[in-house]
Structures are given as C-alpha cells and as structure tokens.
C-alpha cells in the first residue's frame, strides 16, 4: 500500500521542521460506536410518539388548513380573490414561490455541492436538509399553479398534446421555469430516496427482529431488498457521486432560471444581468437560515449534540455569513449599476425602492439580510445556539422581503405614471401563505417521525473506526 510505505519512511525534513499536527474536526463526538449511531437514530422512529410531536402535528394541521381553505375559495371564486390588480399582477404568489424554492436550495447545496467538496460535516444534516428541500418545493409549487387561475388547465404547462393542437412557447422563461422546477423536484426526491435505501434496510431488519411484521414489510418494500453487499455499495457510491455531480449544476440552474423570469423582461429593476448569481447566493443564504431554524430545535429535542456538534453549527453560520455578504454586495452593485448605466428609468426604480412607498419593506430587507449575518463573525455568537436560532429567523424574514421588494416595487411604479398603483395583499392571500408553513411543518413532522433523520450509513463511514487501517486521524 502506497499509504503504508509513506507512513513507514517519513521524509527526513519532517524530523527537522517538526510540523504541527493539525487535528481533524471530529464529526461524531465522544467516540461513539456504530451501534450507538443506529440505536440513536432508529430509536426516534421506534420509540413512542412523544406528546410534543402530537401537539406540533395538530397545530401544523390547523395552520395548513388555512392554505386549503384559501385555495378552495380561490378555485370556487376565481383568482381575483387575491389582491392583484393592474399594474401589479405578480405579487405575493410569486414572492412566496421564489421564497420557498430558495429555501429548498440549501438542502441541495448540502447534499450535492458539499459532497463534491468532501465536506464531511454535511453527513449529519444532509438527510433533514434534503427533506426540507422537497417539502419547500411542494409549498413553492402551490403558488404558480394556482396563479394560472383555472388550475384544472395547469397541465397546459407541459408539452402534452391537447385538443387545440398548439404547443407551449419555449421562448418564454416561464416555460423554462416549469421544466427547471419540475426537474428540481423530481431529482431531489430521487436523490433523497437513494440516500434512504440503506437506512430503510436497517429499519426493515430491526422491525423484523422486534416482531413488527407490518412495518418491517413496509420499510422492506421501499428498501428494495438492500443487503449491504459491497458489490452493491460500489455501484451505489458511484451513482451517489454522479447524482451529487448533476445536482450541483441543477441547483445553480434552477435559481438562475427563476431569476430569468425577471431578468429576461424589460422592466427597470428586473432587467439586470446580476440576477442569476445574486438569486443563487440569496437562495443559499435563505436556505441555510431555514436549516438552522429547523436543525437547532431538533438537536435540542433529540439530544443530538454528539452528531450535530458546535463544528457543524459554526460551518452553517459561516456559510450564512458568506452568502449574506454576497447578497449585500449585490444590493450595493445594483445601485451602482443603476447610476453608472445612466438610464433614468433604472435609476428611478432603485431610488424608489429605497425611498418610495415601499421603503419600509426595503429597509426591513437590508437590516435582516445585510446586518443580521454580520453577527456570525463572532465566535461567541455562533456558540450561543438560542441567539443563532433568532438570527436565522431574521434571515428567513429578510429573504421573503427581498423577493417582495424586487417584484412589487418594480411593478407598482412602471413606465406610465398614470397606471401606477399600490399593492396590498388580500386576506385570502395572507391566509394561503400563512398556511404553507403548516403544510411544510406537517410534512416535516411526518418525516422526523417515520424516517431516519440522519443517514446512518454515511455517519458510520466518517467515524474513525470505519477506517480500514485502524484510526483515521493520520489520513
């Protein structure tokens, strides 16, 4: 083994310079064994349903009913029940769509991009983050689908032969978006499921051993007969790597195409080339905000401190800081280009954002997105989990307002002053959006109750005892 020979004869220079030993970050604290990991994660599913779960679940169902009611009323009455009117025909629906889809992006970033970059700390949070992605896409999809008005014609979005014999307009970025979001949803589900396969097999065998034949059969059906064969692992790991490799350009392209919905138009404030990278950074920023919002309570409730260590929280805070700062830079650069481009309409659009009728929204956006993440420079802040959690809420709020500012301020003050307007949401819109948090929570609660919230196989693989040369610290 090249590795063994290397270890046997260290270069002579090393003895002279005595390099410092850089300790590797510990992924699973307290030197836990393989079976401890299995017991810890399966125990959540096998144990009795906790009372807090039922309380949260019922509460989440009640909140979700607001979306159901709002949508039922919209279908029965018409899309006019939302507050849209000329000139603002895209408003909360598209704001909410971009907000939710952006939240999903951190899940794919963690599962795909960090996998390619060999960031091992992703292992303990990637399953829950991927679940978050899927549920966020579900919530996002509700808005454009119902915004089409006659939702029973929503299938016209896809190139399915219809009785009018006409096809979709593929020149339109909105049609690109249909393909981007549906591909994103599909690939996210597939990626998640492939990751779940070995863990479903663990649950199958555990439920079989404990005599619960029904649950064993259910988990077993979806485990597809996984048996941990190394010949299978070989193909599996390759497939997983390729899925990570294709999800990386996918996640970048999805928010790029979402930004095309605006950037390809000719509206001042939308028609800018900075949108694709700016939207992607914003999406990752908001997504990490949501990951922190979800994972910190989970870590506390299930006593997961050995699996989600301070190191993990540090990493997430630092990514939030980096992407938040990129977003702040993008805000500044938009203003600079509006001035430098010397286009009076563009210049007006930005002055209007900061000092016009929607200035309140603009300054909420700036304070939440630019100022909040700067706290993460400080170690003391990152180590105070309650404070990190509060900051993560501010990030979520700020990113919602970012989309509101971009969409509504540009539309409300368009080219013709005679058509200017001021948009306010209707109560139906507010209820529908409020309810999506319930939809998301219902799905997420079901996930933490019935599926392993962390990938056991991947966690075991990053422990020191997984190393075939015994002890992984000298690699």
């Amino acid at each position: 083994m090249a590795h063994a020979e290397h270890a046997a004869t260290p270069p002579a220079i090393l003895q002279e310079v005595k390099p410092a030993v850089l300790p590797r970050a510990v992924m699973v604290a307290n030197n836990r064994s393989f079976s401890w990991i299995t017991e810890k994660i399966c125990g959540i599913i096998e144990g009795k349903t906790p009372t807090w779960w039922w309380v949260c679940f019922i509460l989440a169902c009640l909140v979700a009913s607001f979306t159901v009611a709002g949508i039922a009323y919209l279908i029965a009455t018409g899309v006019g029940v939302w507050g849209h009117a000329n000139p603002v025909n895209w408003a909360w629906d598209i704001v909410n769509f971009v907000f939710w889809i952006g939240i999903g992006h951190a899940g794919t970033l963690i599962s795909a991009i960090l996998c390619l970059l060999r960031q091992k700390w992703r292992t303990s949070i990637n399953r829950a983050a991927e679940a978050m992605t899927i549920f966020a896409v579900v919530c996002a999809g509700i808005f454009p689908v119902f915004h089409v008005g006659r939702v029973w014609y929503a299938w016209y979005l896809f190139p399915i032969p219809n009785s009018n014999a006409i096809w979709q307009n593929f020149r339109s970025p909105l049609e690109w978006d249909v393909f981007a979001v549906s591909t994103y949803g599909t690939v996210s589900v597939l990626f998640w499921y492939v990751g779940l396969l070995p863990d479903l097999a663990v649950l199958r065998d555990r439920f079989y051993a404990s005599g619960n034949k029904l649950r064993s059969a259910l988990y077993g059906f979806f485990a597809l007969g996984w048996r941990g064969s190394n010949r299978h692992w070989s193909n599996y790991e390759m497939a997983y790597l390729i899925l990570a490799g294709i999800s990386t350009p996918l996640v970048l392209s999805v928010h790029t195409i979402v930004s095309f919905d605006f950037a390809v138009s000719l509206l001042p404030g939308w028609h800018t080339t900075i949108f694709p990278p700016y939207f992607v950074a914003g999406a990752i920023f908001s997504g990490f905000g949501m990951v922190l919002t979800l994972m910190l309570p989970l870590r506390a409730i299930y006593r997961m401190e050995d699996l989600i260590t301070q190191y993990h929280i540090d990493c997430m805070c630092k990514i939030t800081l980096a992407t938040g700062t990129i977003v702040g830079y993008a805000y500044a650069m938009e203003f600079f280009i509006a001035w430098y481009g010397a286009n009076p309409y563009e210049g007006f659009a930005f002055i209007n954002r900061a000092f016009g009728h929607y200035a309140w929204a603009y300054w909420i956006m700036i304070s939440c997105n630019v100022i909040t993440p700067q706290f993460f420079w400080f170690k003391a802040v990152r180590e105070n989990t309650s404070f990190v959690w509060i900051l993560s809420i501010f990030v979520n709020v700020g990113m919602w307002f970012e989309r509101f500012v971009i969409i509504v301020t540009s539309l409300a003050r368009d080219f013709l002053p005679s058509s200017w307007g001021y948009y306010s949401p209707s109560i139906v819109e507010i209820f529908t959006f409020f309810g999506t948090f319930g939809v998301f929570s219902v799905l997420f609660l079901l996930f933490i109750r019935f599926l392993p919230i962390m990938p056991m196989a991947e966690l075991k693989a990053v422990t020191p005892q997984a190393d075939v040369h015994g002890g992984g610290d000298h690699h």
Binding site: F170, A180, G228, I242
Partner: protein, 177 residues
C-alpha cells in the same frame, strides 16, 4: 441438510479485520463472493479486486438522450408541427431551447443513474439467501460479513472454511439457498 447450500458466511467485528480477510479471499482466486457491510467501506473495492463501476457510462447515455429529447422536442413542436411566430422570434433556435434541454439532460441523467445502479445491482430483489441469515440485522448495524458462494469453482466446504478461519472469520456457518 434439506435445503441446498448457498455458501459460507463469516463474521468480522472491525473494518480492518474484514479488509484483510477480503484481500486473502481475493488472492485465493475466488470469484463468486461478497462482503456485507453496514456502510461503504473505503478501500474495500480494491481489497475485493472490484473494477470501477460502469454506472457513469449509463449516466452519460441518459444525459445525451435528455439533451437530444429537449432540442428535438422544441424544434418539432415549434418549427414543424405547429409553426407559430411569437414576438418576431425565430421558430427554432438552440439558444432559447437550451435551458429546457439542459434541465432534461439532468433529469434523464438522474433516471439513468438510478435505474442503472439498480439494474447492475439486481435490485429490487426482496428475497436473497443472505437476508435469511439470522444475524443479518447486525450486518446492517455494526458487524461485517464475508460470504463465499458454493457456485464458485474453487469452493470446497473444508478448504473454504479453513480459509475463512485463517482470515480471522468468526461464527462461520452455512447459508441456505
């Protein structure tokens, strides 16, 4: 024994034990054998003498098929089946067809990758002799198994058992087919 034998199964407690045993079985020239591990063990492919997985080739085919599907669908629907001028733009251009083709490339690659992985692994297969092993639950949890099948030309109950014992295997027992 009533049921025909599928092979011999041996248990190992640690990853290095399994790794070195796999090297010995590989060097003894066995072909129909396998390791059962709760997680992908880094380097075990080499110890087992496995070749690089061919999943990437299937993925590539899927990707090419996806890109061609996107381009030809947009060309055929927009420029052949129902030509309709919108905004004075051309009936077909690879420029505006690119985003959709790009997404379909990724979608088809994902399908091909997962389908290819399952096909190469022979999954779904809900029945397998290994899954009948009474301690299989530990193989999904914290133990490692090495299985040598009877159909291997070198398989010989006594010799194979001796090899597994020498390699450090514990609890060596026969698997029913």
């Amino acid at each position: 024994m009533a049921a025909p034998s599928y092979g011999l199964i041996a248990t190992f407690d640690t990853t290095p034990d399994l790794y070195h045993a796999a090297e010995k079985v590989r060097d003894a020239g066995y072909r129909h054998w396998d390791c059962i591990t709760p997680f992908p063990v880094h380097g075990l492919d080499k110890a087992m003498g496995l070749k690089r997985s061919i999943v990437p080739r299937i993925s590539l085919c899927g990707g090419i098929a996806g890109f061609c599907t996107g381009m030809s669908m947009i060309w055929w629907t927009g420029a052949v089946d129902y030509p309709l001028i919108v905004g004075g733009k051309p009936l077909f251009s690879p420029m505006f067809a690119f985003p959709v083709s790009y997404e379909l490339t990724i979608l088809f690659t994902a399908f091909a990758t997962i389908g290819g992985m399952l096909f190469l692994n022979g999954l779904p297969m809900h029945y397998h002799p290994v899954l009948k092993y009474e301690h299989i639950r530990r193989g999904m949890d914290d133990q490692f198994f090495l299985v040598i099948e009877t159909r291997d030309p070198r398989f010989n109950l006594a010799n194979t058992k001796a090899l597994l014992e020498k390699a450090g295997g514990k609890n060596i027992s026969e698997l029913e087919a």
